[in-house]
Symmetry: C2
Subunit: 263 residues, 2 copies
């Protein structure tokens, strides 16, 4: 049975009262972006050196507040992905092609000492990007190797807040999705070789793969890559046969998957 009338209105009154800004201490909704790329076989994450306390001088993920409503600072973000792209664009130039996917939301009580902050983390994958110039309100922006951002241990740059954990979640997500999706092409320009693709897998998984078997499996997976008909120019050092050029195929899922555990 539907309980209508008074109960219903009470529910709605409760909804609005519970979020009367005067009744509760403030809580913020932010987006943080784990922007990943691969440069010379090294996986990198875009990090921002904090210019303000707390945690001044430490690396943090680029992020910012979600604009919930139109206000003096600008129009509202229509959706969360818009907010993610907006805050990232304030730190660096966005590439023409990118893959953006939501990673998760972090809201532990004491993750930020100033107030209760709920951060929606996004993972952004892009081909190698130019080095960013300093943003307008940030002291320093840089691409930092994944391996330097680990939890404790040998990490050279311990990130601020819980951002080390967020980066670790992004790295694990990327490693897993390379197994059963065609996500690896998001790290590459529109046209690439099978060797380029293998270099992505080797960089992300941090282990060598058998070139001949990789080649066979990629071409056996329907819709992963499609032949452009062209060959690379080459002429670089080392010599070797000119590789064929491919572009990303239409399918998002890989059948059969490429398993990390396998060779």
């Amino acid at each position: 049975m539907v309980d209508d009338g008074t109960r219903g209105e009470a529910d709605e009154r409760e909804f609005l009262a519970a979020y009367d800004p005067h009744a509760y201490a403030p809580a913020a909704v932010t987006v943080d972006v784990v922007a990943m790329t691969i440069r010379a076989g090294e996986p990198l994450v875009l990090m921002v050196r904090r210019g303000a306390s707390p945690q001044r001088g430490r690396w943090a993920l680029p992020g910012g507040f979600v604009r919930a409503q139109d206000g003096p600072g600008g129009p509202a973000d229509p959706d969360l992905p818009d907010a993610a792209l907006r805050v990232l664009a304030e730190k660096t130039a966005l590439p023409a092609t990118l893959h953006l996917e939501q990673l998760g939301t972090y809201g532990a009580r004491d993750r930020d000492p100033r107030m209760r902050v709920f951060s929606v983390a996004y993972m952004l994958l892009a081909p190698d990007l130019p080095d960013p110039g300093p943003g307008r309100d940030t002291a320093e922006v840089a691409w930092v190797p994944w391996r330097d951002l680990g939890h404790g241990g040998t990490a050279r740059h311990e990130p601020a807040f819980d951002h080390a954990g967020i980066v670790a979640d992004a790295v694990e997500r990327a490693r897993a999705k390379l197994e059963y999706t065609s996500l690896a092409t998001a790290f590459l320009p529109p046209v690439f070789t099978i060797t380029d693709l293998r270099a992505v897998y080797e960089a992300v998984w941090d282990r060598p793969l058998h070139a001949a078997n990789f080649h066979r499996k990629i071409l056996a997976a329907p819709g992963f890559v499609e032949d452009t008909g062209g060959l690379a120019d080459r002429g670089g050092s080392g010599g070797g046969r000119r590789p064929r050029l491919y572009r990303a195929g239409g399918s998002a899922a890989l059948h059969p998957p490429l398993l990390r555990s396998a060779q």
Copy 2:
């Protein structure tokens, strides 16, 4: 270079000013729970009939506001999973064993007509639960088959707000994770048979599987299940050999995976 001093303080002032409750219209953070179970081979989701407008009388996911701070309504939620379990416990009794995982956060501008709402959705998997009694502020709570909640089309119960999409995301997540993880055991009691496990896969994937090959693959995946040494009592209708009893093994990832595309 670290830009310290004035810039840093300005940054922090901006942080606090931007979320001065008086300066901005309110935005809410809620949790919505997609609680899933399987009863008699039918996958079900826990839904709540809305007692208040808007969308009065339609089915919605159980959810509620995240308590960002201690307040008159109770103590703050230490983290988002705590909030998810709290709001679900207000609607139904929680099972002894459950799997809770974050699904994603939904924040499109017009998803709720009353105000800007950011909803962190959680997926909860549990063994078959008793039917819930009506909660204290809800007209009706029921387990509804997945297939009745689809977007448009033949759906018999069109859910409120964007909850059809959230359920669809949860269903797809569950289907995918059954391939690569031992998640299926979350739908089963502590002790189960291989046939019970196969029934979970068949219900979630909505297609029959070859019993003999399924049996072989489950036992070949290290750490998926472990033999308890016991046999089922049986005595039910139909007869048949008494099946062995297993419990969930320690490993979370399945190697090799069980692919949906395969038989």
